[in-house]
């Protein structure tokens, strides 16, 4: 009898865990409801996503140091721009005040469809912000353009969203399961022991994290692996760059036809690209300089490469506040230059496609 009760309990528990780890709404609920300060609370590493993935919290060099941010700049040029930023985790923290010359700012997470409605009285600018490691995957085909639609978002039934069929195949299921089953303060010593074993005995980080050659930074394994399309070092044939440019052009043409006045591609270099440049495959500069590419680009790579400041966190995949500030300044300058041209050309009722 007890065996049967246990069996049925584990079936239900397994099904519930699988469901909870695939449903976006359920995961949001779980994360929000957790009390992080108790022994069963969730592990909250504030020192960086890679530290938290590798449990290397005990190594001081990888902890993120605070960065002083200079004050926001004054507006440049006319303020008639509506900026649509379709981006990823690099631009999650970007705010309207980071761009002094814009009238409206809309951020859309690229994991979700972008539903917008253009204001025809404004200069509508779309920036496709994309981290270098995602560039080849996202533009392996032009599917991204199907996610950008000029329509207001439909109101979703909260309970229907709990049981979306599509979410059954959520690619983040393993991270979510890890979070739901093991991400508790009382289990942390087990993970930290393994991390310490690997660090002190084998001189490396655990899991999908790699320590840089100078042992100052943590990198996501896929960004340095020689077999991943996310890598800064995997050799890329010229034909692949041409193909990438063709796909991006197709997306660009679609978005211009959809009504945007300007569309920019902003590839954010991998941390490894900037902090460990030997052997870099040159994906960003080769793509940006490809004669086939017609989309306007926002070039953070050249600026980042030439600066001596540290623009990335030591234990995180992302840029630090200084890196973000430099990038928003580059965008602001480029938008201001574009705005001048837009003002002239809109007077001639001509649409510019490549500022």
């Amino acid at each position: 009898m007890m065996k049967k009760i246990f069996r049925d309990f584990f079936i239900l528990f397994g099904l519930f865990t699988l469901w909870a780890s695939t449903s976006r709404v359920a995961m949001q609920y779980v994360v929000n409801r957790r009390d992080v300060n108790t022994w069963w609370g969730s592990y909250q590493c504030l020192h960086g996503d890679l530290i938290s993935m590798s449990y290397l919290d005990f190594v001081p060099v990888f902890r993120n140091a605070p960065v002083n941010i200079p004050p926001t700049r004054d507006p440049i040029g006319p303020k008639n721009t509506a900026l649509y930023l379709y981006g990823d985790s690099y631009s999650w923290t970007v705010k309207k005040t980071d761009f002094p010359s814009i009238a409206d700012f809309y951020f859309f997470n690229r994991d979700l469809p972008m539903r917008y409605h253009l204001d025809s009285t404004k200069r509508n600018v779309l920036i496709l912000e994309i981290s270098e490691r995602m560039l080849r995957d996202v533009f392996q085909d032009s599917r991204i353009m199907n996610n950008v639609k000029d329509t207001l978002p439909r109101s979703r039934n909260r309970y229907a969203a709990l049981f979306e069929l599509k979410s059954l195949f959520n690619p983040l299921i393993n991270q979510n399961l890890q979070c739901n089953l093991f991400n508790y303060n009382f289990i942390m010593p087990m993970f930290e022991t393994k991390a310490a074993l690997n660090y002190y005995l084998f001189n490396r980080a655990s899991g999908d994290v790699v320590i840089s050659d100078d042992r100052q930074f943590l990198f996501l394994r896929t960004t340095v692996s020689r077999t991943s399309t996310a890598s800064s070092y995997i050799p890329i044939p010229d034909e692949d760059i041409d193909r990438l440019a063709d796909t991006i052009n197709k997306v660009y043409d679609h978005l211009i036809a959809a009504g945007f006045d300007e569309v920019y591609l902003a590839a954010i270099p991998n941390c490894a690209t900037i902090m460990q440049p030997a052997g870099y495959n040159g994906l960003i500069p080769r793509l940006y300089n490809n004669p086939k590419l017609r989309i306007a680009t926002i070039d953070a790579y050249t600026t980042f490469k030439n600066t001596t400041d540290v623009l990335y966190y030591h234990g995180d995949t992302h840029w630090n506040m200084e890196g973000e500030r430099i990038w928003t300044n580059i965008v602001s300058d480029q938008l201001a230059r574009g705005a001048m041209r837009y003002k002239q050309t809109s007077a001639d009722t001509t649409t510019i496609h490549k500022p």
Binding site: F10, G14, L177, L201, D208, R226, T227
Partner: protein, 462 residues
């Protein structure tokens, strides 16, 4: 969903417990089919339509083959083979074919730009198309009655433990087991779980650790010393073995827990004393597939020595191509075929002493290791360069991606693996206490010493 993932562990627990909860075979078959669909769709959901398409064609072809006689019987078989081979040709070989046309046209000064297929290869396509073909061929040969129950047939092709990387099963072995109600058996559960844990150990502790060495040596050929490159090649031999046989162990173990016995896929291949012997121990389900459905129908060794050699070459060429749409696999297959032809000769009894056997094992291993270089490299140029650098006998960096402690540990784990498989091949642990200790020990070892990175199983790509 790879076997080395939390998703699989929870999925396996739910499916297995539910399987034993059901008291009739009909329910179990439905459960396993739905579970297998979920398993496959967790890679790319849409691709289930491709798999479903071939299942429908083969199901009806099987029934029609059984019903018909003469030319129409043959026609239905051909239709089934075209459907399966055609699916493979489109999704796996089309881009390879077009790329070669492009290269040829460019060579003759007339560049072409034919459209390429912009989609990823459906995972495990070569495995399940071959398994599906074995069904219609066996029905055609009257060795197997056509399966009338569509759900049972679909499960034969889609049974999740062997769906994406084999073993490539035969209908005579699996179909009767799927149709028969098999009660819960604790010994089978223990045997299956022990085998699964052994598979996890081989994949997470050995293969994924060696992957770091191999990635380093193959990615830094120029600055690495010849000795380190050779070490990288040797470690790749063990990586691919532990990766693929580890997968097979998990697959066989998962099926065994449910009281289903799948065919063995490996038999200590690196103890082979010759190339032909190696192929009777490596990926046995594929070798025997080619033997039964290609080599023997082509005449095997019944039509003279030259014809036998030709048949062997054709089989190995196709075996290479089966692995991937790349010239590296073609060359790899051809070289294996040539070595099988050259090195297969009868030796006098006096040469078969222990020393001779040991030397044969070493020579075979070294040859296999060098051929794996073609298998691992992105293109022939890289493979030739890697081999050239080994024979340059030059100095350079001896760093191969791991520190000395971890290299020593990896070598120790390989030795443990080889010893256990040679001297303790059984997985059933009769004593319950010993079994629980074994499980606890293996879980701790796999967790603390395992390298959990997002490495797919190498054979998933085929």
């Amino acid at each position: 969903m790879t076997f080395i993932s939390l998703q699989f562990l929870v999925f396996f627990m739910v499916v297995t417990l539910w399987y034993f909860r059901l008291k009739n075979q009909k329910g179990r078959i439905w459960l396993l089919l739905i579970a297998s669909c979920y398993f496959y769709m967790s890679f790319i959901p849409e691709y289930i339509l491709i798999l479903g398409g071939t299942i429908v064609v083969d199901y009806f072809a099987g029934i029609q083959i059984e019903k018909s006689e003469g030319p129409s019987r043959r026609m239905w078989l051909i239709l089934s083979i075209i459907a399966n081979a055609g699916t493979l040709a489109v999704f796996k070989y089309y881009n390879f074919f077009i790329d070669n046309i492009h290269t040829g046209a460019h060579f003759f000064g007339k560049p072409l730009s034919l459209p390429l297929l912009q989609m990823a290869l459906p995972i495990g396509l070569s495995f399940h198309t071959f398994q599906a073909m074995s069904y219609t061929i066996e029905v055609y040969r009257k060795n197997q009655p056509a399966e009338r129950n569509f759900v049972v047939y679909a499960l034969y092709v889609m049974f999740y433990p062997q769906l994406v990387a084999g073993p490539i099963e035969r209908p005579q072995n699996v179909l009767p087991q799927l149709k028969e109600f098999r009660p819960y058996n604790w010994d089978n559960v223990k045997e299956g779980l022990a085998r699964m844990l052994w598979g996890f150990f081989k994949k997470a502790v050995i293969a994924d650790r060696l992957a770091m060495i191999v990635e380093r040596t193959y990615g830094h050929t120029i600055e690495t010393s010849s000795l380190a490159l050779f070490a990288g090649a040797v470690f790749y031999s063990f990586q691919i073995y532990c990766d693929f046989s580890g997968y097979s162990d998990i697959a066989l173990g998962a099926a065994r827990v449910m009281n289903i016995k799948l065919m063995e896929n490996f038999k200590q291949p690196y103890l082979a004393t010759g190339m032909a012997d190696f192929w009777s121990r490596w990926h046995i389900s594929l070798s025997s597939w080619f033997r039964d459905y290609l080599y023997i129908p082509m005449g095997g060794n019944r039509k003279g020595e030259w014809r036998r050699k030709f048949n062997v070459l054709v089989v190995f060429l196709l075996s290479g191509l089966w692995h991937g749409a790349n010239w590296t696999f073609v060359i790899w297959g051809l070289l294996h075929g040539l070595l099988v032809i050259i090195l297969t000769r009868k030796l006098p009894a006096r040469t078969k002493g222990k020393l001779y056997k040991a030397a044969s094992v070493v020579v075979t291993f070294v040859l296999v290791t060098f051929l794996w270089i073609f298998f691992r490299s992105e293109n022939i140029h890289v493979a030739c360069d890697y081999i050239r650098q080994i024979f340059a006998f030059r100095t350079g960096s001896n760093y191969i991606g791991l520190n000395r402690a971890e290299i020593a540990f990896a070598v120790l784990m390989i030795a443990v693996m080889m010893y256990r498989e040679k001297y303790m091949p059984a997985f059933l642990i009769s004593n319950n206490k010993v079994f629980y200790l074994f499980v606890a020990f293996m879980v701790i070892v796999c967790y603390y010493l395992g390298v959990f990175v997002e490495n797919q199983f190498i054979y998933f790509q085929f």
